[in-house]
């Protein structure tokens, strides 16, 4: 087995890792300290492992670590580097959108990807953007409210 050295920028920091060719990005990220990337199904259905790869929401459980070489990864940890919550995270907390919290990192990143591209989404667009993040606790009511509120707040600040 020939190990591979990969250079990945994670949350703005350059990381160099030795990985096995078959290593999945989910496993590598978790073992390298990014525990906010969650393991829920390992088959791309639940979205708990959602990260941003070059700004796009993707599933770490279906990405080989080798494929992240030379690319930029953002995990939930990257949204609050100094411990201060990002407005989207704040909105989730304020709107009681976090119950058990297991799906929250993935869901927040999906929402971030949406708002980065579409600052003023409709409710339908928010639901579509979150459709790949399964939640068993909230019925999605408050998460959707939180994303719409965060979008409005950003708009207001402009």
């Amino acid at each position: 087995m020939s190990a591979i050295e990969i250079d990945v920028t994670v949350n703005g920091a350059a990381r160099r890792w030795r990985v096995a060719p078959g290593d999945l990005l989910l496993d590598v990220l978790r073992r390298e300290g990014y525990g906010g990337v969650k393991r829920g199904c390992e088959s791309g259905e639940c979205g708990a492992c959602t990260i941003l790869l070059d700004g796009k929401a993707v599933l770490a459980c279906l990405t080989f670590a080798a494929q992240a070489d030379g690319r930029e990864v953002v995990t939930i940890e990257g949204l609050s580097p100094d411990g201060k919550l990002d407005p989207l995270q704040e909105a989730f907390v304020e709107h009681a959108a976090v119950q058990c919290g297991y799906c929250a990192p993935g869901m927040i990143l999906s929402a971030k990807a949406l708002l980065d591209e579409r600052p003023d989404p409709s409710e339908a667009e928010v639901r579509e953007a979150l459709a790949g993040n399964l939640c068993r606790c909230t019925g999605y009511v408050k998460p959707v409210e939180a994303v719409l509120a965060a979008a409005r707040a950003k708009g207001g600040a402009r």
């Binding site: 060719p21 078959g22 979205g47 279906l62 953007a129 459709a131």
Partner: protein
């Protein structure tokens, strides 16, 4: 768990990729988005050949065709203006229904076609538009109709390079439709239909394309129903006949998602819906 993978190649060209696959034999596999390969968890794989860094993610006009590279993602396809305007945008619509946003950011045209699922949402519109696929292997490059790809070419394991979509038929006023039935909003198709109709001023069918997915071992054209429609004026009765013909042509299976009978019936229902939408799009009520 892919602890059995011994090597991960990242070739820069298709030619390199083809050579690598040859070297590794049956234990080698191309991988693009990984959304099928990883889920399948085939433990016999020893070598992976990542084809996403070979510049095959283009979506561009070439001559009078719309050409899509094999590693263009579902999302890229769904958003590309060229694809959204081509044949009523049915390929873009199909791409937009594949799974979740995350899956659509990862899954590729090539991976989807090469995986060969009859439910692949992209395959049905490509079939209806009579697309060809460009392949490359040790025998070189060639282009085959998508039907031939499904008929046996796919099993030969050539690298998928691109899909080339010819311009839609020009006769009459055209209307296209893509319809999909799933259990929930984000679902694998239980049935999908891609249709195109060309109608003259009196609503007579000049040409008809009708493709269905998830109702046969491979995505299929409903040739019988297409033939039935030609030259006839669209009426609710004709739609009913077409639906019944399709229901006889499909060969669905029972599985945990739906029974064969239900798929058969839904093939008819969604054929009717698709043809109605085609008619509306073509400006005929």
């Amino acid at each position: 768990m892919f602890d059995h993978i011994e090597v991960f190649h990242r070739p820069a060209t298709a030619h390199e990729a083809v050579l690598l696959l040859q070297e590794n034999g049956p234990a080698g596999r191309y991988v693009a988005g990984g959304t099928d390969l990883i889920v399948q968890g085939d433990r016999s794989i020893r070598a992976l050949i990542d084809v996403t860094r070979m510049g095959l993610d283009y979506i561009e006009p070439r001559g009078d065709e719309c050409v899509i590279g094999a590693t263009a993602t579902m999302n890229a396809i769904a958003r590309a203006p060229l694809v959204r305007e081509w044949a009523g945008g049915i390929l873009a619509r199909a791409a937009a229904t594949c799974g979740s946003v995350q899956i659509r950011n990862m899954a590729t045209l090539g991976g989807s076609l090469a995986n060969g699922s009859p439910a692949a949402d992209l395959a049905t519109p490509l079939l209806a538009m009579e697309a060809r696929v460009g392949l490359e292997d040790s025998a070189g490059r060639r282009s085959v109709p998508l039907t031939e790809f499904y008929a046996g070419e796919r099993a030969r394991g050539a690298l998928l390079i691109e899909a080339a979509i010819p311009p839609p038929p020009q006769a009459g006023r055209a209307g296209w439709s893509f319809q999909k039935l799933g259990r929930t909003c984000c679902d694998i198709s239980l049935v999908n239909v891609a249709a195109g109709l060309g109608l003259d001023g009196d609503g007579r069918v000049l040409w008809a394309r009708l493709a269905l997915g998830a109702v046969a071992p491979v995505p299929m054209r409903a040739a019988g129903a297409e033939g039935l429609l030609l030259g006839r004026t669209l009426t609710p009765e004709l739609l009913g006949e077409a639906a019944e013909t399709v229901a006889r042509e499909v060969r669905p299976i029972d599985d945990v998602r739906a029974s064969a009978d239900y798929r058969r019936e839904m093939a008819g229902v969604f054929t009717r819906r698709a043809l109605r939408e085609c008619a509306r799009e073509a400006g005929c009520a």
